[in-house]
Structure formats: C-alpha cells, structure tokens
Amino acid sequence: MELAFSGMSGILIMLFYGITMLAIGVTTFLRNKKIHGSLDEYYLGGRSLGTLVLFFTFFATQYSGNTVIGYSAEAYRVGYANLVTVPFFIMIVLVYLLYAPRLYKISRKHNIVTPVDWLQLRFKSKAVSILGAVIMLYALGNFLLEQLIAIGQGVAGLTDGTVPYQVGVIFFITIMIIYGWLGGMRSVAYTDTMQGIALLVGVFMLLIGTILYFGGLPEAGDYIRTYSPENLGVPEGVGLVTWSNFLLLVGFGAAVYPNAIQRIFSAKNERALKKSLTQMAWMPFLTAGVVFIIGILAYTAFPDLSVAESEQVVGMMASVIANENIIFYVAMVLLFGGIIAAIVSTADSVLLTFSSIISKDLYGRYINPGASDSRKIMVGKILGVAAVAFLLVIAWNPPATLYQVFVLKLEILVQVAPAIILGIYWQRSHAKSVFAGMLAGTLLAAFFTFTGMKPLGIFSGIWGLMLNLAIYTGGSLVFGDAAGENVEADTVEVSPIQSLQDH
C-alpha cells in the first residue's frame, strides 16, 4: 500500500518501536535473571502478572494488527453484517466464564504450565495429549505465519518499500526472539502493554481524523444507500447462519487458544484474573467496534472500491488524514507503527506458547522426561526459532487473503475445546472417546475446509465440533465410568508435573 507518510518517518518509528521492545526485554532480563531455570518462571512469568499487565497481554494477544487492517476492509466490503465482530470478541470472555475459574484453581494446585498439561492430568492418555499438542502446534504455527506475513506487508507499506518486506520481517522477528529469549512471558507481557497502548491511541486518532475530514455515520449511511444498499440490510438465510457460526466458532475457538489459556495460568491471583476479564468484556466496543466504524466511514471517502482496493482502505484513509496537518501526520505514523507493534505482540505470545508445548509436552514428557527445566526451556527456544525459520520460508510466498488462514486455524483449534472444557466438569469423560471425537472432528473440519464445502452454510469447524461432541458424549455415556476422574479432588498424582515442584 502507498502511504503519504511512508519513507523516512516510517523507518524512524519502526526503529523507535524496535528499540523500545528490546529495552523492555533487556530490563526484564536484568531484573529476573533466574527465570531460565524454571518453566513456571519462563513461560508463565512466575504466575505473578497483575491486573494491568494481564489485561494488556490478553488484549494484545487477542487483537492483532490484522484486526485493524483486515476487519476494517471486511466492514467496508460487507457492511453492517460485519458488526458481528464486536459480539464475537465478547463471546470469548463468556466462554472463559465456563472454564477459567475452575481451571485457574486446578492450574495452581497442580502447577500446570500448558493446556496439554491439563489434558494429560485429566485424561492420562498419551493419545489425547499428543493429538491435543499437535492440533495446538498446527494452529499456533498457522497463526504465527499469518503474523509474519502481516509484519512484512505492514513494514513495506509504512516505509514505502524502502525497507523491503523480507528485511522488515527479519528485523522485527529478530527483536521479538531476543526479548522473548531474555525475559520469557514477562518480556512478552510488558511489551504487550506498550504495544497495546500504541495501537489503541493510533486507532482512536484514525477515528477522530476520519470523522473530522470525511464525515460521520449519517453521511456514510447515505453513501452506502447509494452505492451498495445491500450492505445496510439484516443478514438473512446463509448470512444469518454465518453470523451465528462466527459467534460460536470465535467464542469457543479463540477462548481455547493455548496462549490465551496460559494467560489464565499466569495471573497473580483470582482478583487480577477477574478484573482483567471484566475489562476484556468491554474492550471489543473500543477496538473491534471502532475498527468497524472506520470501515463503514470509509464509504464517505472512497465509496466505490474494488475488492482488491478495499484491502488497502485503512492505509488510503490514513494517507489522506496525514496530509491534513502535522498532528495527524504524527498520529498516523504512530498508528502504523502501532499496527506493526500489535502484530509483533500477537506473534511473540504465539511463539512463546509454541515453545512451551514443545518444551513441556513433547520433549519434557516423551523424549527426555529426566531433563532439567533449563534444558527443556533451551530445547523449546531452539525449536521455536527453527519453526519461525521454516514459516519464514513459507511467508516469502504469502497466500492471497489473510482472512481464510484465520478461519482455518480456528476450525482446527476449536476441536480441543470439548476436552479442555467438558473434561473439567464431566467425570464420565472417557479418554478413548475424547480422542476419537477430537480426531474425527479435526479431520472433518480439515476436509470441509480444504474442499471448500460448507453444507447448509455451516462452517467446517462447527461441523467438526458437532461430530466431535457426538463421539465424545456418546462414547463417554457408553464406555465412561460415572465415578471417573475428578481432578478437583486432592487425590490426583501428577507425575509429569512433579519435576516442576522441585523448585
């Protein structure tokens, strides 16, 4: 995309954000030198995150730079039907209420570090744990890939191609890996706080600029009525099914993002967790809501863009606004720096969680159970970087639109939701049925996604989830033991997690 403020000021803001992130990483490292010998300290920040940092790390993990660029463009294209983005982010918090209070307590009692730890503790089944880990790693890998591509496109746009796509990606990824290595979850959470603030300020300035220079919602309404009146209408038929599917798929899928679950484990106490989740229940109005309005207001500026042009609508608006005066010029530079920072802040938490699952669940549980925590952390770090290197190779040939990649990972990831959530409460849950359900659901979702099939307009992930739940509940009813495992009781022996308690 071509931006009026790209070039030198873009390079400066990138350097500024990059150096700030590094400084946060180094400071965290100097203050917490002992974190590299404990999985708890490295991957969960010593379970000591307070309300503010916890809130921002939830926020930055959930909202990426894509939320701003991709969702505005989508709102521009489909109009008010895309309003669903506001409630679907709130649905995530609703799903947290189903399981977070209990899982938080269990995580404390049993020193759980990753969501796969929980599956292992609950089902004691190698099959369930490994399948869960593979699904999570796959989804995280896709998610990370999407962020890498977005960083490259953002940097190339912001610097008007002076800094090529590849150089931008490598610059930020290197910084991200360095501060992640230095401070683990603490670095990630502290940088998330800085990145979250940058994004929020930028988005609000864009909204103000848009209203000042293009006009508000009434004008936009008139333009939409003239150019694409269908974008004002109520979703009906397939549109309505899509709407409901989004609420369910994003609600359940994003709530069981392994990186989001690890933030529940990282809370200093329940009060901090409760407060930050309450704030998260209101954030969608300020983020997804504002981003949606920006997409709608874009009609007043550019009422008749093609699909390809609409992808760049945020950059086009920012360029016009930046030309108005120096304050908005600076604000738009900050916005685009903030968008890139927000992408980095999503990527860093994905990478950290990716490494933690490799460290703890694959290497630590099956390959070398006797390894020390520092060795497990080192293996996680190295394989994490190897995964990034592999994804970078793919990122040089980015897929056409980001949106489909997003849907694909949720479709797969949502298949671990029944095991994680239902497993907490339903004692009868039968491990083999849980495994069969998860596997069948994943395969069905993948099949429908890859073949592009969408029977009855229902998303492939929801079809998979229905099959998954049917097998899980049916199998458990037939084969399960009514007096089965109850993890909340103090009776459970936790051998794989024992090594942690040595600290």
């Binding site: 010593g46 609703l94 399981y99 209070p101 009692k109 209408g233 109520v234 106490n269 409760k274 229940a281």
Partner: protein, 81 residues
C-alpha cells in the same frame, strides 16, 4: 449452600440469561428485505444488536463480580517469594 464458593458454572440461572442473550444476539427477528430504517445513518437492527451486545457485557460483568468467589486456598504467588 452459604458456605460453598460461588462459581459461574454452578448457577444454571446465569446460563439461562446467557442463552436468551445469545438468541437475541443473532438478528433473526427483524423483517427481511425492504429498505432498512436508518437512525443517524445506522440501520435500526444494528443498533438493537449493539444494545443486546451491551447487555452481554453487562451480564458478564455482573457474573464475574457477584458469582465468582475468590478462593482463599490458593496462595498469592507474589507473597510466596
């Protein structure tokens, strides 16, 4: 009953309310087709959905505040060190 720690999942009434909100969160109850009513440029149905969305956030806030008791069994890690 009084001594038991409150947890959102244990109270079915909370979930009935969430169920009703979820049903209303899907815009199935507006007349299809025709020219949508605009209020300050925003379709009426979108305003109603936003109203229901606010209800969802309010109910979540209420449930977290009044139906999620903090456990005193779990030590605060900061004091641990």
């Amino acid at each position: 009953m009084q001594r038991e720690k409150r947890e959102p999942v244990r109270n079915y009434k909370i979930w009935i309310v969430f169920g009703i909100i979820f049903i209303l969160l899907n815009p199935w109850y507006f007349p299809a087709g025709g020219d949508p009513v605009l209020i300050y440029g925003v379709p009426l149905w979108a305003l109603v959905i936003m109203g229901v969305t606010v209800l969802l956030s309010l109910h979540i806030t209420y449930v977290i505040k009044y139906h999620w008791d903090e456990s005193d069994e779990v030590p605060d890690r900061e004091e641990d060190k």
